[in-house]
Symmetry: C2
């Protein structure tokens, strides 16, 4: 076999550092950085990073075959046992960390609120003394100077009480936000946001760097506690999902990057396929821990997060979530008697309406439909506006770390001011005499009828909703059998406030979930709608709030089955199921008419090359051959290649897979695909040959183990090769994946995409339809980037035109 050095060098890649060389990507780089959807760059924690694809293909090279044949029965059993053990540990740790977060949030926020209430109480007492004085004292005395001064000081001290409460709350919130944002900005930018889109991308085959490290997890935990306790309009649900995935990833690889346990058995899982499975378990456990919804967690992973699914995975994620539930239940049992400070039952079951009798008739289908439609419209509107806000925020965040911190703190100040100030706008409502005395008005940190600035026997309904944790706010607004608790005015203010906060809080640099803001908005509008229906509807207003929350979530996140189960498990009321289903289906359908789901919008904003499940219709009109044609001509390696050329190719391209071609006489035939990682491995281990020859199988096995092959081996810059070595040879055959998945050049992109996504590929070889003299044996190598609709459309604008004219736009 001779090296065909005349052959044009062509390869394809994933990790395109040298962007200018790729005509397919080029036009898109001229767009602004906030819409990087078409490049291999992604917004990772507001910084642009290079991203890499994952490899789920079975790499059938000589070493792999050896690996497989050498695995004994005991090793196989050990592997299965370890997989289950990992699933167990993922569930256990996620459950423990979720409990920790809930414990911390409930206690920090609880003591904060108690202190604020105390300030207000003092103030209220003083105010009452003042009012008494003013009213009771004979008018003559009021004219004396001393008396006036006394009144004034009382007034000032009374106001001071309010002011002190405000300052205290704002200050504490400010500090908590500061901690969260500083951690995020300086230590783990990837910890900002919910993390769910990145997990979704990971399971689709896109590895976002620094996403699942130990630092990220730590920052996510502490940051989430800080941000939620600071009363910001964000949830701990999304972060919990990310934390679950981090735990899974860390366990799977045997510890943090720098301190990995290098035990042989843990290295069984050092491959992309097993990591994918474990991270799916982690994500399910996270959802389960967030909502205490084991089946909902599994379904969330299935419906929203995972790209590939198999029933063994269904079973294993189910096991993980079962463990989470047992852990959570055990802790709640333990904390019931007050052993955990202010924890109580808080933070877990938020909206249990299991005891509420639900009655509805056919006539109630009308309000249910209305909720669904409005939820869909509002949800898609929210997606649209959030997209705009996030683009704006990206511009601000790009200005540097200080800008990011300032933005977070500004949002925190604004939130605190609104939460504390707005209740003064609401007028006091007298307590319903049928309510137990100790419940109305309440002055503690919880309770459905907060006294705040009101006189005895009255409560401030807006304070009930605002001066509390978000979880309690949801619980209060979901409360049933309280038809006249809230005034329309208060709910309108609440709704508007949370619309604003929901839009402007999400993009700041703290760990933030999307579930809770949407639930808050949705519940307000649902309850308002329930009040508007008045006596027409037989459904309780609290249930309207639940349905409103469900509809807005479906309208924005576009999930149905998993949301339905989550709501079923949250509300613990099976009778609600049919109407919840209807609401969810209607909202999702309506929302889908306008724009994609919020997660897809964020994925696009971040520039993560997510492969959609369905090919676009116009993809049937273009073949993979045409796609390969617009890429630069091919670079290939020979079966036995010089070290110099390998180094050259690795240095001058950024591709991660190279076609290996053998030439026999005139005809050249493709031998397979070799990965950049394996070439680097060869260079690092200096497995060089003096002469151009084929190696024996034992030679390879002596040098490499199958464990080496599964890992990734740094960059070409770390490799030092001497000039003499440059002249030596490498036999690539044993390291080449001899059976990469292939398609023929005449296949439509639509059909190729189905194979690419279904089989979970990283590289797809395009073979020529007709072989013969002068025809290269490989027409091209397609990757994820090449198959993305956006990229194809920029290379073939006429497709977009025909597409648009078809759609009648």
């Amino acid at each position: 076999m001779e090296k065909d050095s005349e052959q044009m060098a062509e390869t394809t890649n994933q990790q395109e550092r040298d962007m200018e060389s790729n005509s397919l990507h080029q036009p898109l780089l001229k767009r602004n950085l906030t819409a990087l959807s078409s490049s291999p760059l992604a917004l990772v924690g507001a910084k642009v990073s290079y991203i890499e694809s994952l490899d789920y293909e079975i790499n059938e090279n000589d070493l792999f075959k050896h690996d497989w044949r050498s695995r004994s029965q005991a090793q196989v059993l050990q592997y299965i046992f370890l997989k289950w053990l990992l699933a167990f540990l993922v569930g256990l740790l996620t459950g423990l960390i979720a409990t920790l977060i809930n414990l911390a949030v409930e206690n920090i926020a609880g003591y904060k609120l108690l202190a604020v209430v105390q300030y207000i109480d003092n103030k209220r007492w003083r105010f009452r003394a003042w009012a008494l004085t003013v009213h009771v004292m004979p008018p003559v005395m009021m004219r004396t100077r001393k008396y006036r001064a006394w009144i004034l000081s009382l007034t000032v001290r009374g106001l001071n009480g309010y002011m002190m409460g405000f300052l205290y709350m704002t200050g504490v919130n400010f500090i908590l936000t500061l901690i969260a944002t500083v951690l995020c900005v300086f230590f783990a930018p990837t910890a900002a946001g919910p993390g769910i889109p990145e997990i979704k991308a990971y399971l689709n085959g896109v590895d976002t760097p620094n996403m699942y490290g130990a630092t990220t997890m730590f920052v996510k935990i502490v940051g989430s506690i800080g941000a939620v306790a600071a009363g910001l309009d964000l949830g701990k649900e999304g972060p919990l999902v990310h934390i679950g995935a981090c735990i899974a990833s860390l366990l799977g690889q045997g510890g943090p990057d720098d301190y990995r346990i290098k035990w042989r058995w843990i290295r069984y899982f050092n491959n992309d396929r097993d990591r994918r499975d474990i991270i799916t378990c982690g994500a399910s456990s996270g959802v389960c821990a967030a909502f205490r919804s084991p089946v909902g967690g599994v379904l969330f992973a299935l419906e929203e997060v995972a790209t590939w699914w198999r029933s063994a995975l269904l079973w294993r994620t189910f096991f993980s979530t079962a463990v989470v539930v047992v852990v959570l239940r055990a802790f709640m049992e333990y904390c019931k008697d007050g052993a955990c400070g202010l924890f109580g039952q808080g933070g877990l079951i938020m909206f249990d309406v299991g005891g509420v009798p639900v009655r509805y008739h056919v006539a109630d289908l009308i309000p249910v439909t209305v909720i669904g439609i409005i939820g869909g419209v509002l949800g898609s509107l929210y997606n649209y506006l959030l997209h705009k806000v996030l683009r704006l925020y990206n511009l601000i965040n790009a200005k540097g770390k200080l800008a990011k911190i300032s933005l977070s703190l500004a949002v925190s100040l604004f939130t605190s001011a609104c939460l504390y100030g707005l209740p003064f706008l609401a007028s006091c409502t007298p307590c319903d005499p049928s309510v137990v005395d100790s419940e109305c008005p309440s002055t503690g940190r919880m309770g459905n009828f907060k006294q705040f600035n009101c006189p005895k026997g009255h409560y401030n309904d807006l304070a009930t909703l605002l001066l509390t944790t978000n979880d309690d706010a949801v619980r209060n607004i979901f409360s049933t059998n309280t038809p006249s608790e809230y005034r329309v005015f208060s709910l309108v203010i609440f709704f508007i406030l949370y619309c604003i906060l929901g839009l402007f809080t999400f993009g700041i640099a703290v760990p933030s979930g999307l579930f809770l803001p949407i639930i808050l908005m949705g519940s307000a509008y649902g309850r308002l709608l329930g009040m508007a229906m008045g006596s027409y509807a037989s459904i309780d207003q609290g249930l309207y709030a639940v349905l409103g929350a469900a509809s807005l979530m479906a309208g924005s996140m576009r999930m149905t089955v998993s949301l339905c189960v989550i709501f079923l498990e949250l509300t613990n009321n099976l009778l609600l199921l049919p109407i919840t289903m209807l609401v969810l289906l209607i909202s999702k359908s309506v929302g889908d008419c306008f724009n994609p789901s919020i997660y897809e919008i964020i994925l696009e904003l971040k520039g993560l090359p997510f492969l959609e499940a369905h090919p676009e219709p116009w993809m049937r009109n273009i073949t993979v051959g045409e796609l390969a044609d617009v890429k630069p001509p091919v670079v290939t390696l020979s079966g036995i290649e010089t070290v110099g050329r390998i180094v050259d190719v690795l240095r001058n391209t950024t591709h991660n897979g190279f076609a290996v071609v053998d030439s026999v006489g005139q005809v050249s035939e493709v031998h397979g695909l070799v990965l950049r990682a394996h070439l680097l491995l060869v260079l690092k281990k200096k497995w060089f040959l003096q002469e151009r020859r084929r190696t024996e199988e034992w030679e390879v096995r002596e040098k490499f183990t199958w464990v080496d092959v599964a890992e990734r081996w740094g960059t070409i810059e770390e490799v030092a090769v001497t000039k003499e070595e440059m002249e030596m040879y490498v036999d690539l055959h044993p390291l080449t994946n001899t059976t990469p998945y292939t398609v023929v050049e005449t296949m439509s992109v639509a059909k190729a995409l189905v194979q690419f996504r279904q089989v979970g590929l990283r590289h797809m070889l395009v073979l020529p339809k007709y072989h013969g003299h002068g025809v290269p044996p490989v027409v091209g190598i397609l990757t994820r980037q090449d198959l993305r609709a956006h990229n194809i459309l920029s290379a073939f604008p006429h497709l977009e035109k025909s597409h648009a004219s078809k759609k009648g736009r």
Copy 2:
């Protein structure tokens, strides 16, 4: 292009009528017919039939491209609308038919039981009169002859009452069984059994003939009513799933085979891909209708039935099940006031324990684990024994229609005798005074404390369980807060009886579901276990019964998530969720150690070539090239072929796909794959050319529409071609799928199988690794049959050996 007539004829196939020609399949045909797993034959309703694969691949030929380009925006919208309309109709009709079945069963079985109770009541009255007479009359009078005769007649009439009740019940059951079995045997043999395995196979890509026709559906409905009302130990759940699939299939194709609506828009769905989606909807709706469990229905389809899944499907099945639930709820509302005879609330929610407070602690994990382990062992034991029984039954059923009917009737007689006779073994229990008078003892058709042969104030606990419908039996055994209701002796008899009935009823020729027999067995053993635990456990005995049923189902059917949700929705008690999850997981794990799930066993018994999700480990040691080598040499068609050769190939092979090869000079290149159906289409429409030439695109379009291409076109025997026509030519290019999915011959079977199953293929072309002179352009065509583990092992016995030695057997 010249016709290369020297080339050896090789093709592959699905529908292997000429079995002897295929060396791969041959060795297996010598096995007995009950283990047909390796041939394209399948047991269809106890008769051996030829089965065919479905084609989910996008057929990229010229007509298809035309089809796609000609679809307007309006047509696309219409298509989407119709898809949703179909999902709606599937839900609606499944709901209606489920209601109809429940209505019929409850009324027929109800009036039957009432009549039996009446006979017994009369008898009891007479018996009491007799006892009174014997005891009260002075002994002297007893010696008179007339008196003796009177006593005797009273005794006989008393016994006659029991006997009459027995005869009545047995007779009615006999007639009902007769109706069901005669319908099944004579009109629709495919309607026997649950139908779930066949649906599972369909969604995997195997079309069982006559499975989804109108006759099958009708027989299934009537037969199911008859069999369930006859008190046989079988459920209506499995049949409902099949009925749902039938409805879906009939709607999708526009009516029964002979009376299809030929509207253009309904023909949109005349392709395998859309039918697959609709049938998935139907199966989900069926499960939902059976258990009133919408989410459980969706998950059942996802976990157990479907092979391919995508989130759009999740959503659409969810919509269907929502419609089913609304229909069921509406009917229950309507029937609540007695408008539906004896229907009441019966037949739907069977095991509602929503109001029961569930308490359990960490200590209860032990009994829960025990239930899980025993459930797993019993479940796999049941699978093992049922396999044996079904093999025996297959032998009996093969003897003819009379044998099948006799078997069913014998089972019916045995069941009736046991149900009526065994309660006499149980001793009477005095009623608990705390129970309301009207409840104990009850003499109606329902009730938890049946009087049967007992004196006033006593009840017969075994009669409570046996002399009732299966649904009520489950309700009674699940009943909570009745710790001392059942005696151990009665429960043991009940358990043993239903073990025997469960094994021997399933295989008879009536529509029969597996869910209910397993639930009955499981609940008995669960309750027994609960009694054995005694005061140690804090869980109610009724809940033990629920857990026992769950464990046995998981142990036999090996589902987890869907069963969990079904049980959640059945019991309507969220607090049970964590322990149900644990039980299910343990049972499934234990069961998996012994044998595959019951559905897989039935699939194998029926000989349906189901493709498993995971390749066997040893499949990595064999390449597709080796597989293709052991098949007979290749038969190919030229791009422009004579009619004679096409007819010849179609007559003499049974393959459904043929490789089309073009020869340019010395080199021959593969053009693509043409389907048997399309060749038949050409022959039927006589699209012949006088000379050997390529056709223009408009010529094809003039002759064929894309609707023609999607359908299947009879057999070659129906085609008449004259001798002159035999000499003419056909241009196969426009009808050839130019881009079949291909693999290179060096790929391992494991890897090829992943692609085959993930993409949903029918034919997979194997290409040579090295092209050159004398190398055929296609090495082989692999189908489902070739990739099945069993078939490969019979062709390559050494693999099995290495496999077995690895496993340490």
